[in-house]
């Protein structure tokens, strides 16, 4: 049985079986909990240092460029020249193709 499932490199079926088993075990622990617990009315609201959440839903959702801001900011010395290199000028597109062609030509001529 195991042989059939794990015949090659890996088996998604076995993976999903393990996932389902894990979920069952988790549900078992969950069902051991206290059923008398009541959900509070604040469930799902964001916690902002104990302040009341803003009325406008737009202010709750942090999105767009703010996600991974720290990561991209830390890498700005690498990313900014890269972004600047994508000029959008048609001449540059052709330029890159010609340059690559020349470099590949040299590479192929020397090494192959």
């Amino acid at each position: 049985m195991i042989d059939i499932i794990l015949k090659d490199m890996w088996s998604p079926i076995a993976f999903i079986l393990v996932l389902v088993l894990t979920a069952l075990v988790a549900y078992m622990f969950y069902s051991l909990g206290n059923p008398a617990y009541k959900r509070t009315k604040h469930k799902g609201e964001p916690f902002i240092s104990g302040n009341a959440p803003p009325k406008d839903v737009r202010l709750i959702h942090v999105g767009g460029d703010n996600v991974f801001w720290g990561f991209t900011h830390a890498l700005r010395k690498y990313l900014d020249p890269l972004v600047k290199g994508h000029t959008g000028i048609l001449n540059d597109y052709v330029y890159w193709m010609v340059i690559t062609m020349a470099l590949v030509l040299i590479y192929v001529y020397i090494l192959i």
Binding site: G88, I89, Y95
Partner: protein
């Protein structure tokens, strides 16, 4: 001298392609850049035709042909196809430039870059 004479078309091919590439790389007007593409196109077509040429051979038309050798027929077929494709692509690109001019008001390649980064 003779070999130089036969090399002349290929020199011309190189000149045309380099001229076309220069135009495409360094001219900022989109119409001029398309002209550059057309020049490269002609260079490549000339290259194909020059490949087929053999001195003293006749055109490859079988109907009532004299009994002598013929030049290579395939490159001529290729060139014809390539010319037709070239007309289509040039027309399409020029029509794009017309629409671009309507919307952006310019044909400068350094100005027409709202898609970038």
């Amino acid at each position: 001298m003779n070999s130089l004479f036969y090399a002349l078309p290929f020199v011309m091919v190189a000149v045309l392609i380099i001229m076309g590439l220069y135009t495409v790389l360094f001219k900022r007007n989109l119409i001029k850049m398309i002209m550059g593409v057309a020049i490269i196109q002609n260079g490549v077509n000339l290259f194909l035709v020059s490949l087929a040429y053999r001195e003293g051979y006749v055109a490859p038309i079988w109907t009532s042909a004299p009994d002598v050798d013929m030049v290579l027929p395939t490159p001529h077929a290729l060139t014809l196809t390539s010319i037709v494709i070239g007309v289509a692509t040039t027309a399409l690109m020029l029509s794009f430039v017309i629409m671009l001019k309507k919307h952006y008001g310019t044909t400068d390649s350094h100005e027409t870059r709202r898609c970038k980064e």
